[in-house]
Symmetry: C2
Subunit: 420 residues, 2 copies
């Protein structure tokens, strides 16, 4: 019987031979060291060594290395870029996500033989799906709790990001509930500081949300940012559950993988995964992580919602990359456990982005959060929510926004403001 | 009384005005959004806003942006590099390391206004030192447990990195104990896979280490790699303590900050912090993390030993950067809690690196681990240990290695092999 193996794809840039460099990568990340040592028998290599599955040369060119090395490199030299696939026997590490990280994304980015290395994708054997929970709520569970079907979940972010007291936050939330918003989230900078303690915020906000739900039958989902140490997150989670909250948020790169796995194990609420810090992992195109490889780890670990930036965002990411990430979120990971995670479009989002987002994703299964795009509406936050809901109504019906706006004043007013 | 603030220094590259860009960074990472929203009062800004403390323009030049943005950029344009210092009020986040990460290393790397951004340093108010443990053992505690004083702790890494069974590992360990080695570590690829389960390895290895200690009075310190989920790490830690182990190892980037903090809280053993993955965080000089900023977080969280690569390493890092990192490990973080962590020199280390390492660090308070450099000695692993110990004896006495080698055959034989 074939032993299960892990596969990873890389975008490699090297001034050397790409086939030889791929062998160095496989050696460094399994049984090799810089000299052959006693004990590294053929049998052991068969049991434990990583294998180069494929090296697909993409381009050869004369240029400057993307990443420096200890020795100065010439301004122009022959470089090769190749897509490299390496596989590892599952038996050396077992189905462990933290040890997977050390294996597929360990020392190899530092190799002097590579002048560029980016992890493009990972493929995991089914054993991983037996160990990790994956999203407990995903699209269906989130829609159920939010009471929103057939259209995107429309949300906002508390702005200013930081500075409001708990009561000031709750006062804004009351206003947003009045406007029948679906979803509200803390900013990732707001967790449990002395200016706005977590428990105070939960009590004040849930008082408004529960009161509004009793009155109107609609309960806004609020993602409370519980980012912190493991024990803090556990305590805050339990406090959320006791107070009727329906979502929690966490900064995944700040908490890290083992803490996140622990959170996902005990969480009884959907986990809204915020990817802040993503830039340092990904912004250079020849270094680090692609979204596709990176997000699979957090999906399997238990993320229910995953930030993917937004079209026309205020950051540096192009629109096609945003759509590619969002589509990745919906692509099944395992046959028996698809681990679909709900993409969250955020950053500079306004009514203007609805049609392009729907066209790109081909599905209304998304969360769109607009901060300034709702809160800075000339007629106030309630009109901001209405405008965004109207923009999505028009989009799903296939009606141009300006046309729909002519009979919908909130949308019309929002359309007069520029896109981010 | 002045409110405590957090400070962070960045290396910024921008095609725009560096002063304006620094303001955008401060706004994004505190009370700002892309439009001014109701509620962002002057009072709130005073309470919560980040402040630009200093912008020091380092160079202006014509060139290509280090990092791409959504819009294509010209091949040559005027760019500015500047050292930017930003400060945040502690009151918005409190002394929380995970929330510090989201604040100083959150969304700002993705800003379209920056074409390069690297976190150079962080300075934390004393409140952080009250919350986190820092290294429980550090240099003194490690020396006490290893029984090594006045010279570096000399160690090796089990090689081949993966593939040995527990008994094969123990057999190599027995040989190394025979050679009176100070320190042995698992490779970061070896944790708890089916080929070499953690508990089996601990039992087999500690049987040899304890037997050797009973016979010779010298007990080698073995850093067992317990990288995994939080509950796994707790279980493995307890198993180590029960079996007389004196050190544990963890891949910090794989486990992440919250999991690491939890580990540090319950650990009764020195924590050997392995930084694999460091390349994706740092290898581009205009992106990500400097070692100085990054390592402070893990020191305060409780790392006792910290990998800094090694002189003449097999990777891409230049020697001066290695020495700078090692010296950073020894620089006090707080007046009352210096949090000194023991630097670990590793990667392609041999007898050849002893003099340069000692000259660069100015102290023997370090761990040097040589894998191939010991295990591939022509006369076997025991001679490899002896040679490395002799190299350090010579170095500390100020005697050239070749001279010392003339009366020390193990060193002499090692000197004939090339440096990495």
């Amino acid at each position: 019987m074939k032993q299960p193996r892990i596969q990873a794809d890389y975008l490699l840039e090297t001034p050397g031979d790409p086939f030889r460099t791929a062998e160095v990568m496989a050696g460094e990340q399994s049984s090799g060291t810089f000299v052959r040592v006693p004990g590294e028998t053929t049998q052991l290599r068969e049991r434990a060594a990583a294998e180069v599955v494929e090296v697909d040369v993409l381009e050869e060119f004369v240029g400057t290395r993307s990443l420096p090395s200890a020795e100065p490199s010439p301004l122009a030299e022959r470089l090769v870029r190749a897509r490299v696939t390496i596989s590892w026997p599952l038996a050396t590490l077992g189905p462990s996500l933290p040890n997977l990280m050390a294996t597929v994304a360990g020392n190899l980015f530092e190799l002097r033989q590579v002048s560029g290395l980016r992890l493009l994708d990972i493929r995991l054997p089914d054993e991983f799906a037996s160990v990790y929970t994956g999203p407990k709520f995903g699209v269906d569970g989130t829609r159920e709790l939010a009471g929103v079907h057939g259209r995107p979940i429309i949300g906002t972010i508390i702005k200013p990001s930081v500075g409001f007291t708990a009561e000031e936050t709750a006062s804004l939330v009351a206003n947003l509930c009045e406007a029948r918003i679906d979803f509200i989230k803390d900013d990732e900078l707001q967790a449990d500081g002395p200016n706005c303690p977590f428990n105070d915020r939960v009590l004040a906000v849930m008082r408004e949300i529960n009161a509004s739900a009793d009155r109107t039958g609609k309960k806004a989902m609020y993602a409370f940012n519980l980012t912190g140490d493991v024990e803090e997150m556990k305590r805050r989670h339990d406090f959320l559950v006791r107070n009727g909250a329906t979502c929690l948020m966490v900064s995944v790169n700040s908490v890290g993988l083992a803490g996140f796995i622990e959170l996902a194990k005990f969480s009884e609420l959907p986990i809204h995964a915020h990817r802040n810090g993503w830039g340092y992992l990904s912004r250079h195109p020849q270094l680090g992580w692609s979204f596709n490889a990176w997000h699979k780890i957090w999906r399997l670990a238990g993320a229910d919602h995953m930030h993917v930036n937004g079209l026309g965002n205020k950051f540096s990411e192009p629109d096609d990359s945003v759509i590619e990430s969002a589509r990745a979120c919906m692509t099944p990971m395992f046959k028996e456990k698809p681990c679909k995670v709900m993409p969250v479009f955020s950053s500079g989002q306004t009514v203007h982005q609805a049609p392009g987002t729907f066209a790109g994703l081909g599905s209304p299964d998304l969360i769109m959060t607009a901060g300034g795009g709702i809160l800075a509406h000339p007629d106030g936050a309630a009109a901001g929510v209405t405008a965004l809901r109207e923009a999505w109504e028009a989009t799903i019906k296939g009606i141009p926004l300006t046309e729909y706006g002519s009979s919908h004043p909130a949308l019309s007013a929002a359309l007069e403001r520029p896109s981010a």
